[in-house]
């Protein structure tokens, strides 16, 4: 295996250091390291982070390969600085059996751009009625530990309780898409001032908050671990904060778009802003940023949701929900959290790598940048400023809300176990 010397990188945003990769691991960290025949990457002024980990990615394969495949999705991930992604179960067929999760897992391994850790469905066919074979998925080669019906809420309280209890046997976690279905019938956007004006069906904050409240109480009752997907309201933050203060084993994620965008964008009726949960208010955005900073929200997860052009180039009500996010996540976090002084780069490493890896049990990811650790690394040019151009995306889909928007930061290099997947901003 080859040796790589990353010279002068600000490790986790700290003082410049050299990092030597030997084979799959970090061999040395220090100043003035001898290149000794290693390939040298000049990283002057750039920030070196542990490879990012996304706990919430939609790769669309199997079933919707026109939107994304494991290959295109993991290439997008590598472009965005990720070394591991958790692939949501709402594929066709649904990832509710050992066979499907193993297939997705193997595709990730074979392509080699990024580790793909499949998420198993909680219920058969995401139908919310019957538990999927959670144990079999865990025991498969994919070793599933995270289960979610994402896209749909596990709204039956008994099924949710049973799932929470059942996965305790193997240290699993249920990731809930919190959306009370009756309260969100016909929902098109956040319910409030703007929905009232635009005449679009409202998705009230309470539909998210009531499910989170129920689920943290269930987790407490049965002594289980629950993870809240894409938390989006100030009220949800309050509930999670309360639950944590009570000692309930709950973790939560926020998406980059909920840290930056508000429901005001919906006034354009441009479906690129149509996402579930919907974009909320300015007040929610600030509550989410603060909660991510103080640790109430544990991690940033992209909810990368690729859709083909025709599913967005239509009227709002007919459009698909979701945005791509893998290739812009770090830039949005830099803009909303780092440049606002809410989080330093060590904090970013914690929220986008260490904690998501720990929640999902991704071994070898989210590790410190130190000797003996797997060389899963991301190098970021934080001084970069530029407009987002979806034409350059590795993702098969282009449904980004940031087209033409100036965002800071650019991932220049990504290494997966010592192998470069991205060099000078270009995929290998």
């Amino acid at each position: 295996m080859s040796k790589i010397l990353i010279r002068g990188a600000k490790v986790l945003g700290g003082e410049p250091q050299d990092v030597l990769i030997d084979g799959e691991t970090i061999a040395a960290v220090g100043t003035d390291l001898d290149a000794g025949g290693a390939e040298v990457v000049e990283a002057d002024g750039k920030v070196l982070l542990p490879g990012l980990v996304d706990l919430h990615t939609h790769l669309r394969e199997p079933g919707r390969e026109d939107s994304e495949t494991v290959l295109t999705g993991t290439r997008a991930a590598a472009s965005g600085g990720y070394t591991a992604v958790f692939a949501m179960a709402n594929t066709f067929p649904v990832a509710d059996t050992a066979g499907v999760v193993e297939q997705v897992y193997r595709l990730g391994r074979d392509h080699g751009y990024c580790d793909v850790q499949p998420i198993g469905a909680v219920t058969v066919g995401l139908e919310g009625k019957k538990l999927a074979e959670l144990g079999a998925m865990h025991e498969s080669a994919a070793g599933v530990t995270v289960f979610s019906d994402d896209g749909k809420c596990v709204d039956d309280a008994v099924i949710m309780r049973r799932a929470l209890e059942y996965v305790k046997a193997f240290g699993g976690v249920v990731a809930q898409h919190a959306q009370e279905p009756r309260l969100t019938e016909g929902a098109q956007m956040n319910e409030g001032v703007v929905s009232a004006e635009l005449g679009l069906g409202g998705w009230p904050a309470v539909a998210e908050e009531s499910v989170i409240a129920r689920d943290v109480l269930l987790a407490e009752h049965v002594g289980s671990r629950v993870h809240i997907c894409h938390l989006s309201t100030a009220g949800s933050v309050e509930i999670v904060r309360w639950a944590k203060s009570r000692g309930i084993d709950v973790t939560a994620e926020v998406t980059p778009h909920h840290l930056l965008l508000t429901e005001e964008m919906v006034r354009t009726y441009n479906p690129v802003y149509k996402v579930n949960p919907p974009l909320r208010t300015e007040r929610d955005v600030h509550a989410l940023r603060e909660a991510l900073a103080d640790g109430t929200i544990d991690i940033v997860a992209t909810d990368h949701a690729p859709h083909p052009h025709e599913d967005k180039d239509c009227e709002w009500a007919a459009a698909a929900m979701g945005m791509v996010g893998l290739e812009t996540a770090l830039s949005v976090v830099q803009a909303t959290m780092v440049e606002t002084g809410l989080l330093d780069w060590a904090g970013v490493a914690d929220r986008m790598s260490a904690k998501p890896a720990r929640i999902g049990g991704a071994r070898g990811h989210g590790r410190p940048v130190s000797v003996g650790e797997p060389a899963n690394l991301t190098l970021v040019d934080t001084a970069y400023r530029g407009q987002v151009d979806p034409a350059g995306f590795a993702s098969r889909s282009r449904n980004t809300p940031y087209e033409g928007r100036e965002l800071p930061g650019r991932v220049t290099h990504t290494w997966l176990r010592g192998k470069a997947t991205l060099v000078d901003g270009k995929l290998t």
């Binding site: 098109q188 319910e191 409030g192 001032v193 703007v194 929905s195 009232a196 004006e197 635009l198 005449g199 679009l200 409202g202 009230p204 354009t268 009726y269 441009n270 025709e310 180039d313 239509c314 009227e315 709002w316 009500a317 007919a318 459009a319």
Partner: protein, 326 residues
């Protein structure tokens, strides 16, 4: 004036008064033996209806024909159109045909806005009702009817509705008519009160330029016009109110309630009326009820809007008359 008419909120006071004044001129055409102006001769207007509304379509069609436009009616409902992208496909077909204006009715809020702003089409877009969002020509014809009744047909020219107190009663939540009226009536200087059970008022109504009341009886004596909104019977099954009887007891307009209104006050309804639940026959058939006038005024207003969007910027009166005299 803007190039499109998507929302009543897009109209300035002067735009709105110009449309109302122009509509007065257009109304005179209806009194002539030959009810036709050559103004839009050679122009093609498409009535693109994704949702059934015979009344609105016929009103636009009459307006278009009185202005001598070539009219194409396209009813998407029931055809192969079912997926969302059909709006774009249809738009591009119309664009290829060189259409000058599209009058669009659509079940999805924002569809006309998308049509006007997505670069799919070059034509002027007139919103003839979208989802639960807007129905600007309805609001204009309502304002026109109010101005005629409350200010006067000739005295009203150049005037707005300053100081007039207008009450809208019923299903505000699902009503594009309510949204359009609140915007336009506020622009025209009127004081608007919405009356409905709390379940039929949208969350977020607090920012609207109007008052909200749950009590019809206390609002009636201070109303110059009371507009009853349509309440669909299905709403009952969705638990918006307990029973039809309870709804009409609290929010229906009957003879007793009408008697509490000031002498000069009028009763309006966008139609079609559901007699019994929201309005009794006694009220509907009284001479204070303007439903029939509203229909006639709808044609004048739509002529005015089409004329101003497509014909030019000079007042329709002079322009129309000179063209006619030639």
């Amino acid at each position: 004036m803007q190039r499109h008419l998507i929302s009543a909120a897009d109209l300035t006071r002067d735009d709105a008064v110009l449309i109302l004044d122009t509509a007065e001129e257009m109304a005179r055409v209806a009194d002539r033996p030959i009810k036709k102006l050559p103004t839009l001769r050679g122009r093609t207007i498409v009535n693109l209806f994704f949702e059934d509304s015979t009344r609105t379509r016929i009103s636009f069609e009459a307006a278009e024909k009185r202005l001598s436009a070539d009219v194409i009616n396209f009813t998407a409902k029931g055809s192969s159109v079912s997926k969302g992208e059909s709006l774009k496909d249809t738009a591009q077909t119309l664009e290829a045909m060189g259409v000058d204006a599209v009058v669009i009715r659509h079940g999805a809020s924002g569809a006309p806005y998308r049509l006007a702003n997505s670069g799919w089409i070059d034509a002027a877009v007139i919103n003839a009702g979208d989802g639960t969002h807007q129905h600007p020509t309805q609001a204009l014809l309502d304002a026109f009817t109010m101005r005629r009744r409350l200010v006067g047909r000739d005295a009203g020219l150049g005037q707005d509705l300053s100081g007039k107190r207008i009450t809208l009663v019923g299903d505000v939540l699902h009503s594009r008519v309510a949204r359009s009226n609140v915007d336009l009536l506020h622009t025209l200087g009127a004081e608007v009160t919405l009356v409905a059970p709390p379940t039929l008022v949208p969350v977020g109504v607090g920012t609207w330029p109007c008052e909200v009341s749950y009590d019809l009886d206390s609002t009636l004596p201070k109303s110059d016009a009371v507009m009853m909104l349509r309440v669909q019977r299905e709403r009952m099954n969705a638990a918006f109110f307990p029973t039809e009887r309870e709804y009409s007891r609290r929010y229906g307009l009957d003879g007793d309630r009408m008697a509490r209104m000031p002498e000069h006050a009028i009763v309006m309804h966008p139609g079609p009326m559901v007699r019994g639940m929201e309005i009794t026959a006694e009220v509907a058939d009284s001479d204070r009820c303007t439903v029939v006038e509203q229909v006639a005024n709808g044609v004048s207003i739509r002529m005015a809007v089409l004329y101003l969007l497509l014909g030019g910027n000079e007042p329709a009166v002079t322009h129309a008359r000179t063209t006619e005299e030639k």
